[in-house]
Each structure stands twice: as C-alpha cells, then as structure tokens.
Subunit: 374 residues, 2 copies
C-alpha cells in the first residue's frame, strides 16, 4: 500500500498515486502529494540523517540518486553593505547537473521508476531537461526532451550528451510545452513535467529541510526565490510546513519571489494587473520565463500565507547582478539566479524586506550552463 495519494491543489478531489494523472478530474488544477497517516516508509534522501522527511517512496532502494542536495550555504560578506542586510546564498548550482532541479528530478524519477515507467517526456528551457536526461540515463530510462529552439547552446548540448532525444521547438516557451503534450498524447507516454508532476516538489522541499539543518530555528526571516512555475518556491513552502507541523521550527520565514519585466504572469496576477503571453519579451533569465505557469494559483497562495512580497527586475539589472556576484563573491550564477539577487536588493530598498532578519537566496543554477555574459 502506497504511503500517499494525489490531492487536488484547489478542491477536495483526490486519487491514487499514478504516473499519468497530472491534473484534477473535477477542476483541472495541478495535484500534490498528500501523505497518509502512519504509513511513512521512513526513506532518507541522499546524505541525510536527522528528522524524518516524508517521501513518496516505499523502499530505500527506490531512491535514484546522483548525489544531489546537501549544498553549502555561504554568506556574501562583500555584498552585505550593498544589500544593506546579512545575505546568505545556498549553492544550488553545486548539484550533479548544475541546478536545483536535480532535487525534484531525483524524487520524481525514483517514484516513476518504482511504478515501472521506462520512457519519459519533458519540456524545459534547459535545466530541468538536462537534469531529467541525466537521471534517465543512469536509471536506464528513455527520455525525450522538448526545448525552445532559442535555449542557450550549452544547455541543449548538456541534454544531448546524456543521450536524451532533443526536440527543438520554434516559438515561445509555451509552444514547447504544447509540442511535448501532443507528443505524449500521440505516443501514449508519461509526461514527466517538472511543472506538473506532484513528485517534483517532494524533491525540492528537501531544500527547506536542509536550511533547517543549517540554521536550526534561526532560519533567515526573508527568503527570495526566482519563480517561473515555482517548483522551488512551492517546495520551500511545503518543507517549511512539514518543519512547522513537526515542531522543528517555531515560526515561518517570509517567502518572496522575483520575475523579470520580460515574463511576469505571476507577479502581474499578484498585483492585480493584466498580463498575457503576447506581452512576453526576450530574457536571459530562462528559469523564470514561463508564460502560462500551471501552479500560478498555488504560488500566489503561498505569497499571501507567508506574508511575502514580489518584484520584477529588468534585463540590465539581472545582467549587472550576474557580473557582480562573480566578481565580488566568486559565484558564477546563471542569469535566473542573478534575477533573485537583483530582486532581493530591490525589495530591501523599497522596505518590502526589513534589514535585520537575514536574507537567504538560492543560486539556482551554474553560469557555465548559459552563454557567457557580455
């Protein structure tokens, strides 16, 4: 008997865990994993020892790992005066394929493999595709990765080197998603979408548990995350909720998110402003460039519940921050990560974040995966 069910993110509908059910049959909302009482199998993530983290797996041997997670936290001493607050980064680019996506992929692939899935389809601007391709390779699964034709050359190359079949799609990021869904339907395959699979967030939530291991009950009061569809933002919240419910932490930090001026659907919705995909502009922040994020409603709910703020940044601001982070702190981040730092600075300057509670920002991916900054 499985230790979990799938639960609709917005209504009461639920169903048995499945590799092919990705939305609510009643209201079409995305699904999440809900653990059943007293069925925890007590599986430990890679390198973890400590309190129990619920995972949607039945046996420790089901865990497929390349050594993801357990990333270090570094304080940015040289940028403290510029940001005007204590600022910490969690080095998520120090994951096996160079981004935090490996956390979600590890758990998603583990769950799907344990359900005997052996062929997968995913669409990704790059990081999630590379991640899925790597984990599929080492677990002997066939992977089809749909990418926008405009994705950075190093990211596409990385997907190819792991042996996945790469499908390059012209047009917007959303066109890539549509092409992947059509391919899934036509070939009766499993859509291992990092945006939709309920398993993915079960991996990204481990980020929150590691922050607790690092800081104990003194987690920085403000956490600033770049958001495309919100898999890290929502995982962070889920992990924090687990920590709060198990009395490991006494209070919740505020979760803020950052998008770019170029692609800002969730920001616009949170601010009550109109926005649609026809307004998409080119951006170097590939990880936040999701025009129609299926989990938008969940992101806005967490924003409200955590009393967070949101902000957008320009291409110039994120480009500047990519260079600043490398030259002042020795951290070569992908533009998406620089977006979060640029946003954190703006949130402090606008007094949306206080100066005294500490700020934590994930460096979501490696600069080596993108075209070099000019």
């Amino acid at each position: 008997m499985s230790n979990h069910k799938f639960q609709c993110s917005s209504c009461a509908w639920s169903c048995e865990s499945s590799p092919i059910i990705l939305e609510c049959e009643k209201c079409s909302s995305p699904l999440n994993v809900r653990y059943l009482p007293q069925t925890s199998a007590n599986i430990q993530p890679t390198g973890w020892s400590g309190h129990t983290i619920p995972l949607p797996l039945d046996h420790q041997e089901d865990l497929i790992t390349l050594g993801e997670g357990n990333t270090p936290v570094v304080q940015l001493n040289n940028l403290k005066s510029r940001i005007m607050a204590d600022i910490y980064v969690k080095q998520e680019y120090m994951n096996p394929t160079g981004s935090f996506k490996d956390r979600g992929t590890s758990i998603m692939i583990s769950a799907l493999k344990s359900m005997k899935v052996d062929e997968l389809v995913e669409d990704s601007s790059g990081n999630a595709g590379a991640s899925l391709s790597a984990y599929a390779a080492m677990s002997n699964m066939t992977a089809h990765i749909f990418v926008p034709e405009s994705a950075p050359v190093p990211k596409i190359g990385q997907i190819e080197v792991y042996g996945a079949t790469v499908h390059k799609i012209p047009g917007t990021r959303d066109a890539t998603t549509d092409a992947a869904k059509t391919f899934v339907h036509d070939n009766q395959l499993v859509y291992a979408s990092h945006n939709l699979s309920p398993f993915f967030i079960e991996g990204t939530k481990i980020f929150a548990h590691e922050i607790f291991r690092e800081f104990g009950d003194n987690i920085p009061g403000d956490i600033v995350i770049p958001v495309g569809n919100g898999s890290l933002y929502l995982g962070m919240w889920k992990g924090l909720c687990e920590l709060k419910e198990s009395n490991h932490i006494s209070h919740m930090p505020r979760l803020h998110f950052v998008q770019t001026e170029a692609v800002k659907p969730i920001y616009s919705a949170a601010k009550g402003r109109s926005w649609d995909v026809s307004m998409i502009r080119e951006t170097r922040s590939g990880g936040t460039a999701v025009g129609s994020p299926p989990r938008q409603g969940e992101v806005i709910e967490v924003l409200t519940r955590s009393n967070g703020s949101c902000v957008t940044v320009t291409e110039e601001e994120l480009a500047d921050w990519q260079k600043i982070l490398a030259a002042k702190e020795g951290i070569y981040a992908e533009p998406t990560s620089a977006t979060a730092l640029a946003g954190a600075e703006k949130l402090v300057r606008s007094d949306s974040i206080g100066k005294n509670n500490g700020i934590l920002v994930p460096i979501t991916g490696s600069g080596l995966k993108d075209d070099q900054p000019k």
Copy 2:
C-alpha cells in the same frame, strides 16, 4: 607561532612558512608543509566534523570558503559489468567552480591571505585558474591568470567572469608557466602556483579524509587518479598517511595514475622510458597536459610506496569514456576525468588491478567547462 614549517620534498632542508618560497634552497625540489608537534590549531575544513585534520592556519576565521568539498560518492551500477569490478566515483565537479581544484585553492588562498598577500599570479590550463580567480574575487585579492591560448573557450570565459586579468600565452603549457614566472619576477608578486605551493596539497588531502568518512576502514582497495602534476594524487596520499598515522585506517589502498599518450612525462619516467616536451601532442585532457611537472619525483615515489600502477590512454579512449559516462551514468565529466575512467578499465583488463577490492575514481571536473564532445 605558526603550526608548520616548509620541508623539502627530497632533502633535509626546511624553512619557515612563507608566501614566496616555493623551492628548496639546497636542491631546488618542491616543498611541502610539515606540522610541528603539539601546535595544531584544530581548524576544521568547511562542513567537517570528525577527527582533526591538520591545516596550515592559525584561526578558524582564516578559512576562506565557497563551500568546497563534501562531494558525494556514487556507485556506477551500469558500468560495473564493463569495468568488471565495483566502481565508485567521487563527484569532484560538484565543487564551487566545477573542479577539485577548489579544495587546494581554499587552503592556499586562506594561508596566503593570513600572510597579508593581496595580489597573486597563477598559470593554469583552466580549472585551477578559474578556481583561483573565484576565491581571489571573494577575498578581495587581485589575480593574474596565465593560460595557454589554446585552452577551451568556456574555461577562459569562466576565469574572466570572476574578474581576474587573463594573460593568454601562445605555445605549449610550459610556455605559459614560463611567462607566469617571468611576470612574477618582474613585478615582485606572489606566485600562487597550484603545482608548487605547499599549501595546495593541504587542501586536496581533505579528499582522502572524506573518503574515510564515507567508507570507514573499508576504503576501496584501488584508487585511480588522472595526473598532470599530481596535486590530487599527492594530496590523496598525504591524507591517507595522516589517517594511517592516527590509526583511523589499518591499511593503505593502492594509488594508480593515468596520463594520456599525448603528454606522458611521469608515466614515461615511471616506466624508465625516455620522453621530452618535444613529444607533446594535442590532447583534450587539459588537466593531465603538464609537460614538465615539478612534483614528478614525488608522484613516482607515491606510486612505488603504494604499490600502484600507471597507464596511458589515447584521445579516442578518453573521448569514448566521456560519452559513456554521460549516457550510461548521467555524469558529464571533463575529458580529464574520462581519462581516469578509461585508464581504470585498462588497468583491470591488464590485471594490474584486481576485480575484488573496489575501485574509486574522482570525477575531477565538469564537462560544462570544456568544448562539447563531438
């Protein structure tokens, strides 16, 4: 009072620790750190808790870190039948700048900074240069990095993004070293050479201590390392000696090394064959392409003392292994790391390594740092 001295690697000469002394005044051999009895300051490396590792620092605050080390170990299940032995890799590319060099750089920069050094020169085919550039940036030091003009574009780009001054030198790898040394002399600067600084190996030796933390006294019996100048090979040995002397391990593994057919000075010397830099050929394995390795004698001594073997591999073999490792195990390694895997396979097939003791290989650097494999 410092907790260490510099000791000649081949004669009895020793001196006080210094940022500018890099060779023995009697016999010109490279120097190593020798700890003085009962002066250990008990500094812990990043993320370490456990037995004491001697480090050449006086205060914990002297440690300059980007979160290096603590890399995961992964077993290669899909390649076990091909290699015909249990094989483990330590994911050294999951370091802050994407290679194991960060271990050495962290300790070297920490020691030099504590001696008030603020401007450095280094020569590097790429990885060590990027590493030094990153750590110099975050510790407010000025770095000059000399690289061969032929180094991979992504590696040079990475050095530049951290803000170091890059000096591109035509000709051989050794010409780059000569140019760096001339620049050091003409400008009276500190030569922070990963090949020569005694501090560098004090960082790479932590690799061995982590392997002990992972395996206890059951460390794999055969460890296969790609060698250019041997900073990881010699660090591994030094760490193992510390573990043996402190009775943490009861027996020493065998340390094997791999070079390429294109650049094989240490292999040739170990086999008693003639070789000189005029015989250098082009290779994608940049990390092993050191024509005149200053620590060659030390490498051969460790080879003998550990009862190790050595082997060379061709460009075709290392290129194949780079692809195999990505497509079968989801690990995108730089060509230098593939060299070690190709060598491990050859050593097993030639019965130089037994099939029953386990093999461990470091994945020294990320494939993202090189030109993409064809």
